[in-house]
Amino acid sequence: MNTKVNIAGVELKNPVMTCSGTFGSGMEYSEFVDLNRLGAVVTKGVANVPWPGNPTPRIAETASGMLNAIGLQNPGIDVFVERDLPFLEQYDTKVIVNVCGHSEEEYLEVVRRLADEKRADLLEINISCPNVKEGGIAFGTDPGAVEAITKAVKKEARQPIIMKLSPNVTDIAVMARAAENGGADAVSLINTLTGMKIDIERQCFAIANRTGGLSGPAIKPIAVRMVYQVAQAVSIPVIGMGGISCAEDAIEFILAGASAVAVGTANFYQPDVTLQIADGIEDYMRRHQIEEISQLVGAVRDR
């Protein structure tokens, strides 16, 4: 049985990755998860300088999901390179560095700084964070802007680039094609859906940013649909995420067209969920006599 997947020339031992922002740089979760068993660790978004993030409360629970508006708090690329990358160096897993910025130049500064970092196997470019005022989602909701930022990053990046797409658009396939046209090596989706929760007793917004990104099982059917649409629209690999909390969920995304999957919110309530998903995918392959996981990618058919 072969669970290896190939994303833009980088071989992952299995298709299970973490979602950026839900796993730090792996340090906090290494107590629960043998990071060697993950296909890849996707690190928390990192900018050219430290970002303080949004005021609290930053999170709220909703039915089968949660809202967050962390606002991309991060310690900046220098600390990331000096502290987080060497930590990940100890593990036999691929490292995907999520890059964020307020402007094209800020993205490029991070990308350039990572050019000689052998430990960064792939870059994921966050053009879809709904919780920062400039940058983030502003780059991800207009196809012209998506193509332009993709081109600019691709020109400077030494690693293959994954463009992380927002679901807060009318047609995500258009954005995926724009990324592909700009030279993206892969796309990942979906980031969170913009939502709101109101505390009716206090008659105030549940989170300080007023809006937050909705994640968790509540958004999974939307994510599966979007992964399917994007997989139909582009020929580059698609990394699927959005509410995955068990192996069955992961298989659904793979059948919809995802070459790899990422697990986010589920880490918060089941710290070792990624390992259970990796095991569960193997069980499924055994049960269905699948030799190569690639046989499953996009294999969904009409009834």
Partner: protein, 261 residues
């Protein structure tokens, strides 16, 4: 220090005041590792309610391998926990965070210690009161005459009560009681609502008394990864490299001067 995530058996559960419950559960692993001021994450059995509820540890029984939580029913999760009985199982992860260890290390047999707690900040003070050496004065603030846990404290020091409605002890808040009784100390440990902690911090600063305070915030991961539960720090934090500290991992107990509240 290691964190356990396990299904634990409830040993006992009782309501001790309006909306306030006391639960003992069995966990040798958590009891061995836990210290005063730390908390556990408690999980709902309902898949629609995903996030763990952080609840501070009220008592640790290392011999019996048991943990006591005293908590207020504040929503779906805590109502579910309150509906459970001895023999039921629930999923718990802990111990989490940093407790009052740094403060405790500074306490000697002759130290004068002021423990100040309000409302649902009272429970974590019980293990601390038991744990700390020195001469302890325990100031507890309540809404009304439902003085939950008050009697549990009397074995560990002098207990001073303040009630908002004036029905018991000093009318007013814990600071009113401290001023009326003219209390002072070499060290303060405190837990309670933010306005109370703000007042305790100001009092400690005014008197030049070192103080440790326990903060709370909505949490998601509980282990320092998601950055959901930060507080503002006075100086740039060594981990975050901004003026933010993680309440779940760097706290919940902080030296009062470390944080802006």
């Amino acid at each position: 220090m290691s964190i356990s995530r396990e299904k634990v058996k409830i040993i006992s559960q009782e309501q001790i005041a309006s909306g306030i419950y006391s639960m003992w559960f069995a966990s040798r692993a958590i009891a061995q590792e836990a210290a005063a001021g730390q908390f556990v994450s408690v999980y709902s059995a309902d898949g629609a309610h995903l996030l763990p509820r952080p609840i501070s540890i009220c008592q640790i029984d290392r011999e019996r391998g048991a943990i006591r939580l005293v908590y207020r029913v504040a929503g779906y999760g805590t109502a579910e926990f309150a509906s459970m009985a001895a023999g039921d199982e629930l999923t718990v992860m802990g111990p989490l965070g940093n407790g009052y260890g740094v403060a405790a290390a500074r306490c000697k047999e002759d130290s004068r210690i002021l423990l100040i707690a309000g409302g649902i900040g009272v429970p974590p003070m019980l293990e601390l009161a038991r744990d700390l050496p020195g001469e302890k004065t325990i100031v507890l603030g309540y809404r009304d005459r439902e003085l939950f846990l008050k009697d549990d404290f009397s074995a560990y020091g002098q207990v001073v009560i303040a009630t908002e409605d004036g029905s018991a002890g000093v009318p007013g808040n814990v600071l009113d009681a401290i001023r009326q009784e003219n209390l002072t100390a070499d060290l303060i440990c405190s837990c309670g609502p933010t306005p109370m902690l703000r007042a305790v911090k100001a009092f400690a600063q005014e008197k030049g008394i070192p103080a440790w305070i326990s903060l709370e915030e909505r949490m998601a991961c509980g282990v320092g990864a998601c950055l959901g539960c930060v507080c503002q720090s006075t100086e740039t934090d060594a981990h975050s490299h901004v003026k933010n500290k993680r309440i779940c991992k760097d706290g919940p107990v902080f030296a009062a001067e470390e944080v802006e509240i």
